[in-house]
């Protein structure tokens, strides 16, 4: 029984390592602050409700993309009855003037990398 201390020490170390994800999150103040987004100052309403846009803007943009590119339709009628031109750079960025302080901040927080800006040109974009 002379190996008892070694075994106990080994077991303790093993359990500590296995439980690492649990105690690491318990211990540290690891919560990431929600991103501070810059909302447009000169517009009150988005194309749809803010709640809907937050959750579903990617689906809406995909719908817009298909409508414009595949079907040649340009006009979007919102739930409110308001009509909009379906255009990422024309309509969205017209209000959300700063891509970096709106789109990118939240996408970084959510750890997603949409490919929109690989091609779509930000109107104010320079070299």
């Amino acid at each position: 029984m002379s190996d008892k201390p070694k075994i106990v020490a080994g077991l303790t170390l093993f359990l500590a390592l296995v439980a690492f994800p649990v105690w690491y999150t318990l211990g540290g103040e690891s919560e990431v602050a929600a991103p501070e987004l810059e909302y447009p100052s000169d517009a009150d309403v988005c194309v749809e409700d803010t709640e809907y846009m937050t959750a579903n803007h990617m689906d809406l943009l995909n719908q817009w993309r298909n409508a414009v590119v595949r079907e040649g339709r340009r006009e979007y009628v919102a739930a409110s009855g308001e009509r909009y031109v379906m255009s990422l750079t024309g309509t969205c960025l017209d209000c959300h003037t700063s891509r970096d302080e709106f789109c990118t901040r939240c996408h970084d927080y959510a750890n997603v990398e949409p490919k929109c800006w690989d091609c779509h040109v930000d109107p104010g974009e320079t070299e």
């Binding site: 690989d118 091609c119 779509h120 040109v121 104010g124």
Partner: protein, 270 residues
């Protein structure tokens, strides 16, 4: 009794099988034919087909050719890559002998052989690029006959490049944004979406301008150059009185490699 009914049963079954075997194909072809006919009649009657007429003689002026190439490439943020292996082109010029290899004979003067001719996508009636595209990233629009590209869908397989007999398509071997001409403020000339590395691109007959009721950028540009009016004429083949139809009705025009049956819609006044 038993034998006879069995015999008659077999005979009837045989006739029925024969009837089914012959009747079905006849029926289906008959039905298929009529629907195909309706479709082709509908296409000829209702829809439009954009087309362009290039006046080769007027386009001999370098100034005119440069004006339309610059206008097009600025309007669509086409990268300017000098390496011919990587270059991207929407409208450009090639020597007559290469544009119309079947029009050149042993005694064609070298002056004519080497004459520059503007070329672009022919927006064919039956585009081979569309047939080979595995993702339908390129398709022919029913409403106006433009062969469109959807860059979101292009996977860069380059089948379309292999299929196009006119070399109208370019592949983005490099990130095009590094090679796009900018104005003095460092901004793009146009807000037309650039492309990305790994997709194929080509002339779209300025679909985005046609939507606004404008003429294609190249046509507008040549009309602003002295002596350039009419060097490029754009219009609808479906409209009997359109300017392109008038020219095609009066002048001697040719198109590229018509023997292939692709039905090119860019015509040349020789």
């Amino acid at each position: 009794m038993m034998d006879e009914s069995r015999r008659s049963f077999l005979k009837e079954t045989g006739w029925a099988a024969l009837g089914l075997g012959c009747g079905f194909p006849l029926l289906t072809t008959a039905c298929g034919d009529s629907s195909a006919q309706e479709e082709s009649v509908g296409q000829a009657g209702a829809s439009r087909q954009w087309a362009m007429v290039v006046d080769i003689e007027k386009c001999m002026e370098e100034e005119i050719r440069d004006a339309c190439i610059t206008a097009c490439h600025r309007a669509h943020n086409v990268p300017d890559i000098s390496d011919p292996e990587d270059e991207v082109k929407w409208i450009w010029s090639e020597e007559y002998q290469n544009v119309f290899p079947d029009q050149v004979h042993t005694n064609t003067a070298s002056k004519i052989r080497q004459a520059p001719v503007l070329i672009l996508c022919n927006h064919c009636d039956s585009p081979p690029c569309v047939r080979v595209c595995p993702t339908q990233a390129t398709w022919k629009r029913d409403e106006d006959g433009i062969v469109m590209m959807d860059m979101h869908r292009c996977i860069g397989c380059r089948y379309c490049i292999a299929a196009c007999p006119y070399g109208s398509r370019s592949f983005n071997w490099r990130d095009p944004q590094d090679f796009i001409e900018r104005d003095t403020n460092g901004e793009y000339y146009s807000d037309y979406p650039t492309r990305t590395k790994g997709v194929v691109e080509k002339c779209n007959f300025c679909a985005e301008r046609l939507r606004e009721g404008l003429q294609p950028a190249c046509v507008e540009a040549v009309n602003q150059v002295d002596g350039g009016a009419g060097a490029l004429v754009f219009g609808d083949l479906g409209e009997p009185d359109s300017e392109v139809n008038q020219i095609l009705g009066e002048r001697l025009t040719i198109a590229r490699r018509v023997g292939l049956g692709t039905g090119p819609n860019v015509y040349y006044i020789v």
